[in-house]
Symmetry: C2
Subunit: 220 residues, 2 copies
């Protein structure tokens, strides 16, 4: 596992002294290259990208990365772009999570509840990505923990879909998922910024997106 730096940029911009790692900000993703040379392609991509400000850990199923939302999103963009540069058909299953650190509980430091963060900004890649995206605001039943907590879990999902339309990457609602198409950076921005926006009022928010790049279906 690479180590997290002491870069002050890794402290959440919340006025509360808690790092992204303490708040459980991060991603777990599985890169798939549909190519017999996949070991070289995937390990080359994972090894060749700037991981400063991040902690990463790769095993036989997936790669875990934690750090600020901006750095996590940049890292995903860079690793995926490097994999796609091979020309192979690539799919990527990504899970982003905030607000539930630890492996068996969502325990935060005392006094900390839902925390927002600045939206991420990613430079374009020139790589076209298609995606199926699902957003999960993980509310608890009983009284809302704060006045800003949404009453039901679907309201923030509808808002995120409307925002994806504004951002130009929305291309339809399929069963269980919203379809996004656009530059890899734009798709990741929309997904990450919806996750961050819901996180301002819901402590534990997860989102899953499966990306498809260089599909032979896209060249038709």
């Amino acid at each position: 596992m690479t180590s997290l730096t002491d870069d002050p940029a890794t402290v959440l911009a919340s006025g509360i002294d808690i790092t992204p790692e303490q708040y459980g900000v991060g991603a777990r993703f599985t890169l798939s290259a549909y190519d017999s040379d996949y070991v070289r392609i995937i390990l080359g991509a994972l090894g060749g990208v700037d991981a400063s400000g991040l902690a990463t850990e790769t095993n036989d199923i997936s790669t875990f990365v934690t750090g600020s939302e901006q750095r996590v999103a940049q890292y995903l963009r860079d690793v995926i772009a490097a994999t796609a540069a091979s020309g192979a058909h690539v799919s990527v299953a990504i899970l982003l999570s905030r607000g539930c650190p630890g492996e068996l509980q969502c325990a935060l430091p005392a006094g900390v509840s839902a925390l927002g963060a600045a939206p991420v900004t990613l430079a374009s890649t020139g790589i076209r990505a298609s995606a199926h995206w699902s957003l999960y605001p993980l509310l608890d039943a009983g009284a809302p923990s704060g006045s800003a907590t949404p009453a039901d879990h679907m309201t923030p999902i509808y808002s995120a879909i409307e925002q994806a339309k504004v951002e130009g990457v929305y291309s339809g609602s399929d069963h269980f998922a919203t379809r996004l198409d656009g530059d890899l950076a734009s798709v990741l921005e929309t997904v990450a910024n919806a996750w961050i926006a819901v996180g301002a009022t819901v402590q534990h928010v997860a989102t899953h997106v499966t990306l498809s790049i260089n599909s032979p279906s896209h060249s038709g």
Copy 2:
């Protein structure tokens, strides 16, 4: 899209006349074969498996399948086993969802709320699978909709993890996901039965699992 049959087995065993499709029971999954011959491998697997009692739709990102929990789980086992039989390293990103049909709302027929279903049973495959698994009980804030509704979203997750230990496939908790190892059928059973069990008291439940099969890391 293949058509759903009128097989009475597709009606939920709930005493309420609602089909799995009406209740939004189904899966969306992306099969990845890390092999330059992936088109033949994946289309062969998707085309060679019994899809009776199910409706399926495949596009450039993923395949959607709806039907009873048992048939959906069997279909996933069979498609994944057929893909793995190629010998290629395979990963599969699976989303299972219940209780939120429709593409933009969780509208159920009048009088229907959380509905249980019988656990699935799958014959073993002889194929070893490793998985990262996440379970999302999608509660709403405010008063619980029924006395059986859990007070917080983590309690059913802990229960599911304990059950995975009983079932012998649990092999650790990683960030954002629980690791499962075992026969492909056993892993899918644990995932599907946790999803079904939580669904007895929570209307909308999604679960995501990423499977890895034939990994070169596993032969070491």
